[in-house]
Symmetry: D2
Subunit: 142 residues, 4 copies
């Protein structure tokens, strides 16, 4: 299903930038979630109803972002979801933030799969299929 976009493009606005005129460090995180949730939704997976669909849910265990180049108001950035790591009961989705060909930041969110009573559970097939459709990161090591 390569037709489902796993990226979002946006122009940095004033609200994305801090008092120094550069992209606010925390601004990248909501764009990661927006890219991830919208991509899953486009593949028919409604992340608020994973229990109903798969009998399990996912919890965010960790998030992180590395800042590689400074960004300024009106820069056009693309947030591309990439496959960072697939384990047995957890997975890491990466997010390459690109300005043209430059990788300006790389984020990641680690998700763990849980049963309704909180026990670890394997990644459902439907999510695995989605994850495997993601491109690898342009970042050699993160």
């Amino acid at each position: 299903m390569s037709e489902v976009p796993s990226r979002l493009t946006f122009r940095l606005s004033y609200g994305d930038c801090d008092a120094l005129g550069i992209a606010y460090f925390a601004m990248f995180y909501p764009w990661m979630e927006r890219t991830y949730s919208g991509w899953l939704y486009g593949r028919g997976i409604h992340s608020a109803d994973l229990i109903g669909e798969f009998g399990v849910y996912t919890v965010g265990m960790r998030s992180a972002c590395r800042y590689l180049m400074q960004c300024q108001v009106f820069d056009e950035l693309t947030c591309q979801a990439v496959l960072d790591h697939v384990g047995t009961t957890s997975y890491t989705v990466g997010f390459d933030f690109l300005r043209g060909d430059d990788l300006v930041a790389h984020g990641e969110i680690v998700f763990a799969v849980r049963t309704p009573d909180g026990a670890k559970a394997p990644i459902p097939g439907g999510i695995l299929d989605a994850l495997r459709s993601l491109p690898p990161s342009t970042l050699a090591e993160s």
Copy 2:
């Protein structure tokens, strides 16, 4: 119950300011909600469970903010909830943003009271009592 605070004091951080170094216009709105929800919560009213407590719920109909003085990073502001207007099926909570004695902004949120099936309903007594405990705005007319 004057002991329940209807104000919050905070220092503007980089994330509250825009690329020009002044308070971002949209930043005031979450502080209004934080002040309002925390104040009601302090009085024992859980705004997510109004149906359970009062048989009605409230919906935000309108919000607004007037910017009177420019604010900058590290300014200390107090957001004080004030009583702007009480109608029969709706009410307006105002928010005076003060820097020392200066009123730097005035916000407001209009709430309408609804039954579970969406019909207009009178303001519950518990909410009326809370509203009447709020001070009036320092702004003569808004």
Copy 3:
């Protein structure tokens, strides 16, 4: 220059919604600014450098939003900048938030034009031209 888009389309993500699962009332404001700043930027007007371009700058005097229909996570909204009012030294840009054909919210920002020493000044021709290229609101009265 009808080719410069004065609208942005986005899908509501979790971060846009509150604990009750509906669009957070404050979420609309950054989208107004993003739409406005990006549209001006597309027309060659860099809102952080109005002094350099026009010898004046603009200050936000007031913002407001009316909520007409409830929105939920994953709803696709379009924020369309519209012309609400043009005065001599100030103007109001409106923002129609549409979900399909439905107007779900209407926002506005009032901008005042000022000289570097803070005096009122007429709207520069370049901004007037831009404003007059905006469509009128789909909202009869706001």
Copy 4:
């Protein structure tokens, strides 16, 4: 200068929580910055004017957050800045998010010190003194 607070306490509001009713993962980051910037400011260090004070500036290289316990609307959290690591040209400030005695999340921001022309530089003495006044994290390993 133990009298300068290196912590902030706040109650989770609706705007801090996502559509599922739990603390939004990205919400923790602006609180880290608010705690850090306000603490430095309280010690007389204005992070927007480090060049003027110390001849160097700091850039955020990386941020991260581990989520240890789920938080819900109206939970009262304290964000405590802690000393995670001091290197020669960079340092890591940690942030313990506490709900009562429970550590619910641990964040960190890595800052690198740079000269105006972008070269690595040692941490200025004034910042070192401030960092060494921070308590250690309650988290054994992060």
